[in-house]
């Protein structure tokens, strides 16, 4: 009897140990790092918590999900991932701008996904043009998280003051998309507003006050290219000069402030533009809208105030004759240090659905990434999204190239030079090209 009891106890002990070991083996730790402006962008990471149980059931494992989400500055955020990767402590999934593929793929910090994307049907529905900005060296390195448009916001309030009819105002996006109302028309309208005292000098048009992706569409709008057919960096000097002429001319004509670069985003730029009574045209991003609604005009009615007084349109056509915008998709990338890339990808696939992406799109006014989203009731019935989704048909993107930062910084130097009057357009182009050649050497071709 004693032996039987002992045997039974040992058996129970062994079984419980085995069960424990099996449980430990099935528990998979996944760390996900997201940058998000709270509260409107929090779904970037929070969506993973929503699908955790679903993926656990599908894969028959226990996922220990660790979400790290804040609104750190981009520079610090990106350095954090680089240093963590080198230290072997990178998160399994990192959300960042698609242009980081150009630096992190050659460094070996992220893995290519071509061979595994096909394992998840959710990715089949992603808007095809978005994949273009996720390639490097002939492979796909990330899954789009969101898309956006960088439109011109126009003040309906000030256009009314300028004598525009409601029909003129409401039809503006269509006329811009058709190429009928061009950038030259926009500058002329802004100049008229200044001359008539509707806005102060310099407040006819504001672009962003710091370096960023937006500035590239002026160059694209003049036929400029950043990459040649082989994927090497190029700079088109004619397009560059034309871009600087446009910007310098806007300052000279009193439409654009010479000191708009340097204005504080939160102290001056957003609070001024959101009121709709000071600046006629402002180049921003779709995500600005919920930010303004929540933080700057909530006391005036939030969204209702904005719909009444602000509209958005594509960037009117410049030399190419086509209205454009630029989308800067954020991208889920899987770290090469991840021990469970298949689980990480399954999690990404699980949130790549209309249901989950709509939450982010609607709350933060980012455009959808899935064809099915357009047909979903929540997306289609959203006044903002439905008014802006067509912009994806006109979009451009940044290049994925390790030398892009040197290129863009030099390009921005030229913009600063011409707007502050430190150089004319040709001189600004010389400054930018000299800077590119000095830092990129043979890696840049001047055309």
């Amino acid at each position: 009897m004693k032996y039987k009891l002992c045997f039974t106890m040992i058996l129970i002990l062994l079984l419980s140990m085995l069960t424990g070991i099996a449980g430990a083996q099935d528990s998979v730790g996944i760390t996900i790092r997201c940058k998000a402006s709270p509260p409107e962008e929090d779904w970037r990471c929070n969506n993973f918590a929503e699908v955790e149980a679903e993926v656990e059931a599908d894969l028959g494992i226990d996922i220990d999900l660790n979400l790290i989400q804040d609104n750190a500055g981009w520079g610090d955020y990106k350095n954090e991932f680089v240093l963590a990767s080198e230290a072997g402590e990178a998160p399994d999934i990192i959300l960042s701008g698609h242009e980081d593929i150009g630096a992190w793929a050659p460094a070996g910090f992220i893995i290519p996904l071509d061979d595994v994307i096909g394992m998840h049907s959710e990715f089949d529905d992603i808007v095809p043009s978005l994949w273009d900005s996720h390639g490097y060296a002939g492979q796909i390195w990330g899954i789009p998280q969101d898309a956006e448009a960088r439109p011109i916001f126009y003040s309906k309030l000030l256009l009314r003051d300028l004598g525009w009819s409601e029909e003129d105002i409401e039809s503006l996006p269509d006329r811009v998309a058709a190429g009928e109302w061009t950038f030259a028309d926009m500058l002329a309208t802004a100049e008229a507003a200044v001359e008539e005292g509707i806005v102060d000098a310099g407040n006819g048009w504001w672009h962003r006050p710091s370096n960023g992706p937006d500035f590239l569409y002026y160059y694209y709008g003049h036929g400029g290219e950043v990459l040649d057919m082989e994927g090497n960096l190029v700079v088109d000097s004619e397009a560059l000069v034309a871009t600087y002429e446009l910007l310098g001319g806007a300052v000279a004509s009193g439409v654009l402030r010479s000191d708009v670069i340097g204005l504080d985003w939160n102290e001056v730029w957003h609070p001024t533009v959101a009121q709709a009574d000071t600046v006629l045209f402002a180049a921003g991003g779709t995500w600005n809208w919920p930010n303004w609604s929540i933080n700057y005009v909530a006391d005036k009615g939030g969204d209702e105030f904005l719909f009444e007084n602000i509209g958005l349109t594509l960037i009117p056509a410049m030399a190419t004759g086509k209205a454009i915008t630029l989308t800067h998709p954020l991208t889920y990338m899987i770290s090469s240090g991840s021990e469970n890339p298949d689980v990480a990808l399954a999690l990404i696939a699980a949130i790549t659905t209309p249901e989950h992406n709509n939450k982010h799109a609607i709350d933060s006014f980012h455009l959808g990434i899935l064809n099915a989203q357009l047909e979903s009731e929540a997306y289609a019935n959203n006044r903002l999204l439905s008014s802006a989704h067509y912009m994806l048909d006109h979009t451009t993107a940044l290049p994925n190239h390790p030398g892009w930062n040197a290129w863009s910084n030099a390009y921005f130097l030229g913009i600063q030079a011409v707007e502050t009057g430190e150089a004319d357009a040709a001189g600004a182009a010389d400054i930018a090209i000299a800077q590119m050649q000095n830092e990129l050497g043979d890696g840049i071709t001047v055309r």
């Binding site: 520079g75 350095n79 080198e86 992190w104 710091s210 670069i261 340097g262 030398g403 892009w404």
Partner: protein, 327 residues
């Protein structure tokens, strides 16, 4: 005593002397060792690493912490730096920033505050000095946010709100006078350091010396000129040297206030460029190697300036013997 005995005594004496000298050296180096080890760990080794990084093409796109597999590119980063069309401008920006901030605020105003607050009622002096320390103990981000709100353009900025109330024109001060605010913002922080050092030095001067000068008929200004100033040469050297090096490497406030702008590097200083290149980049691919080249030149400038200061202020004499005790 025989010759042999005399020789033997001399040998013993020399042996004892050598042993004492050795002990003395060991004692001196033993006391210096903790500081020496810190200098090696936190200065010499990092400088050596940064020097090595500066001859590699290390960037985010090929980042590694393994020194052995970094790609050696010789002096290419230095050639790129010297060919940079804005390097000269940034260099002279740095000289201007350091000289103006140091001379007006970190030394002159610090000395003035110290002299004034040590010549008034002790409690009042303490209160004034405490006020001057506030910028130093305030978080840089909070401190710059306060300044930004003060000098923001109308209708947001406090100064411009006064301008409007008085019927005066308003300004975007960051655009019109960036250097004024870069210097003032940093200077207000810098004053407190010198003020503490100078005040403690002045307070430590024996009272009988100060009183004796008055008994001899000197005015307070003469006492400052002929008694106090000579006795605080050592703190003066320390503050000038330390604050020069501190200003050379400080960039946080400039980064938060102007980020080197407006326009083409109007307020960009050398250390900020090193940071921009190596550690911060909006589009991600930070240039660690190239940024290190900027940092190495900064270290060289700092070391050269430190040596010059020591020569000018006759450092050897200053540390030879406490002057107060000698008097």
């Amino acid at each position: 005593m025989s010759e042999r005995a005399k020789t033997g005594d001399a040998t013993i004496s020399r042996g004892r002397g050598g042993s004492n000298a050795l002990k003395s050296y060991l004692g001196a180096y033993g006391f210096m060792a903790p500081a020496g080890i810190l200098v090696i760990i936190f200065f010499l080794i990092p400088v050596a690493i940064v020097l090595y990084l500066s001859v590699t093409n290390l960037a985010s796109s090929n980042f590694t912490s393994n020194l052995a597999i970094m790609e050696f590119i010789g002096l290419k980063n230095y050639r790129t730096l010297l060919n940079d069309q804005f390097a000269r401008k940034i260099f002279f920006n740095t000289i201007f920033y350091v000289l103006v901030t140091l001379s007006i605020f970190n030394v002159s105003l610090a000395l003035l505050v110290s002299l004034l607050t040590t010549h008034i009622d002790r409690s009042a002096g303490f209160v004034f000095r405490a006020l001057w320390i506030l910028p130093r103990i305030t978080s840089p981000v909070v401190y710059i946010l306060i300044w930004k709100r003060m000098i923001a353009e109308a209708p947001f900025g406090i100064i411009n709100q006064f301008n409007e109330a008085l019927g005066q024109p308003t300004f975007n001060y960051i655009s019109t006078n960036p250097w004024v605010f870069v210097v003032v913002v940093n200077g207000f922080i810098g004053v407190s350091f010198g003020m503490i050092i100078f005040t403690s030095a002045i307070e430590s001067i024996p009272k009988d010396l100060l009183n004796a000068s008055l008994v001899d008929g000197s005015s307070k200004l003469q006492r400052i000129r002929y008694v106090i100033m000579p006795l605080i040469r050592w703190p003066l050297l320390f503050v000038v040297t330390y604050q020069t090096l501190s200003l050379l490497t400080s960039f946080v406030e400039i980064q938060l206030l102007t980020d080197g702008g407006p326009g083409l590097y109007r307020t960009e200083v050398w250390s900020l460029t090193a940071y921009h290149r190596a550690l911060s980049n909006y589009f991600g691919n930070a240039q660690w190697g190239y940024g290190s080249a900027f940092a190495v030149l900064l270290v060289m400038i700092g070391v050269v300036l430190a040596v010059i200061y020591m020569r000018v202020f006759r450092f050897d004499e200053l540390i030879a013997e406490p002057r107060v005790e000698a008097l």
